[in-house]
């Protein structure tokens, strides 16, 4: 069984990622360039996204989550493995099919200050995909753009503004309006709310939720803020150094994380409650993420892992089904039974 089959039940997935590898060659030399090694940005990753679902990918910088997104958007080729969208391998699409694919898959980026063209007005930014793919012009185009802006909570009068005339939250709404212009099935949100102020972040999170329920969108939500991921996602995959270490429903993952890295990641996040935080006593995860140039042998997490034993240094653990989730760790049964976080129940996983 591939890891992808678990978790989504009987529905046909919209996205199926199977044993995806994205390796970037490392080249040396000017005249006689040669490949001296590979960075394994993404190494043997499988997951599914069901229609209408929000799948979260979390992990720290350099874990490969953005590379997964870029591969899914067909911006970098897979070194091996496959990505299927709506049943078709995206590597097999011809030019015309690729154009159709690009209509159906859109993206929202992190930084609303650098991802909008500063020389274009809002109606040009939002209207550009409609001009290219739908050949809309004139009044029809303008009306469609204004409707999109209103859908995203901006007044139609913003159509003639430039990006610098708007706040960060408003710019991110423009980015979302543009992503919606071609009525996509899937939106890849890469750190889409990370650059926003706290009070604005909630507005955009709510907008994403509302659009999903109104338009039946599917999201791949990439983030490092676990609180946001918990709030938005149905299922979550945790990445570390190019590998997926745990996949589970958001509910199970946050209530009862199994992989030692997931546990460390969740425990590292302080919650806004001094009473809970002062009761909590735990040690930070030691060490740093190793260089992807020379990842550790065996389990990539073993140098920092509290549970590591001899075999972890040699053997790469495969994703195995534990309760309702998938965990790439052979030693989970040795994890201490309690978590430092009140409310978390590592021993029990609620039925899905």
């Amino acid at each position: 069984m591939s890891a992808a089959a678990a978790g989504t039940g009987a529905t046909v997935p919209l996205v199926r990622v199977e044993r995806l590898r994205v390796h970037f060659p490392l080249r040396r030399g000017l005249l006689f360039e040669r490949t001296v090694g590979h960075i394994k940005a993404v190494d043997d990753i499988s997951f599914d996204i069901a229609p209408g679902e929000t799948f979260g990918l979390v992990g720290e910088s350099g874990c490969g989550k953005t590379t997964v997104a870029r591969a899914l958007l067909k911006l970098v080729p897979a070194s091996s493995g496959s990505i299927s969208f709506d049943g078709t391998d995206i590597a097999d699409l011809d030019a015309q099919q690729t154009r159709f694919f690009r209509r159906r898959v859109q993206s929202v980026f992190q930084d609303p200050f650098s991802s909008l063209n500063p020389r274009l007005r809002v109606h040009e930014i939002v209207g550009e995909p409609l001009v290219i793919h739908r050949a809309l012009r004139g009044r029809e185009l303008r009306a469609r753009v204004e409707r999109l802006l209103e859908t995203c909570g901006l007044p139609a009068s913003f159509a003639s503004r430039f990006p610098h005339e708007m706040s960060g939250g408003q710019r991110q709404r423009v980015g979302i309006a543009r992503a919606l212009a071609l009525e996509p099935d899937l939106i890849v949100c890469d750190e889409a709310v990370s650059a926003l102020d706290v009070s604005i972040q909630a507005q955009i999170i709510n907008l994403l939720s509302r659009l999903q329920s109104e338009l039946g969108l599917t999201y791949l939500f990439i983030g490092h803020d676990l609180s946001v991921v918990r709030h938005l996602c149905d299922r979550v995959g945790v990445m570390y150094l190019g590998r997926l270490v745990e996949v589970a429903s958001a509910e199970a993952l946050f209530a009862a994380p199994r992989h030692p890295y997931t546990r460390a990641l969740i425990e590292a996040v302080p919650v806004p409650d001094p009473v809970l935080e002062r009761q909590r006593d735990h040690k930070p995860l030691p060490g740093e993420i190793p260089s992807p140039l020379s990842p550790p042998a065996g389990c990539v997490f073993h140098p920092r892992c509290p549970l590591a034993v001899e075999r972890c240094r040699a053997e790469v653990p495969a994703l195995r089904t534990i309760d309702a989730g998938l965990v790439a760790c052979t030693e989970v049964h040795r994890a201490p039974p309690t978590s430092s976080r009140p409310g978390a129940r590592p021993g029990s996983i609620p039925a899905p």
């Binding site: 999170i205 676990l226 918990r230 149905d234 946050f254 919650v271 806004p272 409650d273």
Partner: protein
């Protein structure tokens, strides 16, 4: 290095500080009548969103704002009761860098890329502590070990680009510690770092306050970090402190509509995916916009007529808790009615 004075006299105190910047479009006041203090061995947090004035407050406290165009128009900056504004440059230099140290947000840009770690670590040690080369080197190795850097001897010869973000921030902290400061001002010290590294750095700073009795001013936008590490909290909005209090008290009984709304709007890791969040409508004010009265008024569900006329004063009660709001009574009764803070009427 525990405070020699009895409790009550603050290690460091800002007293009614106001800062103005002259711009071609007029005068901006990014810090307006701000007072807070920190005791030895304690952590005081300044929390707010971008443009709230929290970083400018810290830079003003350190005397690091370029003048002109920036000018401190009123107030005092008291370190152990001495107003730093009254000191001559030589006397100020003896305090700043030695007794008061600063850790900045960007470890990528605040270290000098063309100087070795060893040079940057020993530079002000030799200046402030008059150490010789060998002594300074020995102390640098000791400091790097103390902030959790492996193989400190080899690191001295390395340059910032050899180090990861977390390592660079540790080096920044080691530099801050070099002269045994009594106060550390940390401006978003972990914002650029991953969560597991963030925790390592914050635990290190906490250990310094608890073991060495250093006073810590922690500037952040993260309400979780404030809850975990701060003793006293100052919530800033539009250049003013809108609420001040002990962390437990402020989180349990927030009195300012902005604090209530902020706590209400963040998704929490310990809460399951649920209904929609309660965002604060509108956006934070631009420091350049002139607003008479309370700066939160345009976004506030509790605004009264009086709020438009003048900014409400920050009134601190006997327990050290207070909010700058004319309608605190309504905020509190609303919170009681609902059992938990809610800002926006349904």
């Amino acid at each position: 290095m525990i405070s020699k004075e009895g409790p009550g006299l603050a290690l460091f105190e800002l007293d009614r500080l106001s800062v103005e910047i002259s711009t071609p479009n007029g005068v901006i006041r990014p810090v307006d009548d701000v007072s807070w203090s920190v005791e030895a061995g304690q952590t005081t947090a300044l929390v707010g969103e971008s443009g709230s004035g929290k970083s400018v407050t810290a830079l003003a406290a350190m005397g690091l704002l370029p003048s002109p165009p920036v000018r401190i128009t009123s107030g005092a900056i008291l370190f152990r009761g001495v107003d730093l504004r009254s000191l001559d440059p030589e006397a100020l230099r003896r305090v700043r860098g030695a007794k008061i140290a600063m850790v900045f947000q960007e470890p990528m840009t605040s270290l000098n890329p063309v100087r070795s770690i060893g040079h940057q670590l020993t530079e002000h040690m030799r200046l402030h502590l008059s150490l010789g080369k060998a002594d300074a080197r020995a102390r640098a190795i000791e400091l790097l070990r103390r902030v959790g850097i492996a193989e400190p001897g080899e690191r001295l010869a390395q340059y910032p680009h050899h180090l990861s973000g977390g390592m660079r921030q540790r080096v920044m902290i080691a530099i801050a510690l070099a002269c045994d400061p009594e106060l550390i001002i940390a401006d978003e010290p972990t914002t650029a770092l991953d969560v597991t590294i963030q925790e390592q750095i914050l635990e290190l700073l906490r250990e310094l306050t608890e073991r060495a009795g250093v006073g810590l001013v922690l500037i952040t936008h993260n309400l979780g970090i404030v809850a975990r590490y701060a003793h006293r909290v100052n919530v800033m909005y539009g250049g003013r402190i809108v609420e001040q209090g002990e962390a437990h008290e402020l989180y349990a009984n927030p009195r300012h509509p902005y604090t209530v709304a902020l706590l209400d709007s963040v998704p929490r890791l310990d809460r399951a995916k649920g209904a929609l969040l309660s965002p604060i409508p509108g956006s934070p004010p631009d420091p350049g916009d002139a607003v008479a009265g309370c700066r939160f008024r345009p976004r506030c569900g509790f605004a009264l007529e009086a709020c438009a006329a003048q900014p409400p004063p920050l009134e601190i009660d006997a327990r050290g808790h207070g909010a700058a709001c004319f309608n605190t009574a309504a905020v509190l009764s609303r919170a009681e009615m609902h059992g938990e803070p809610r800002l926006h009427p349904a």
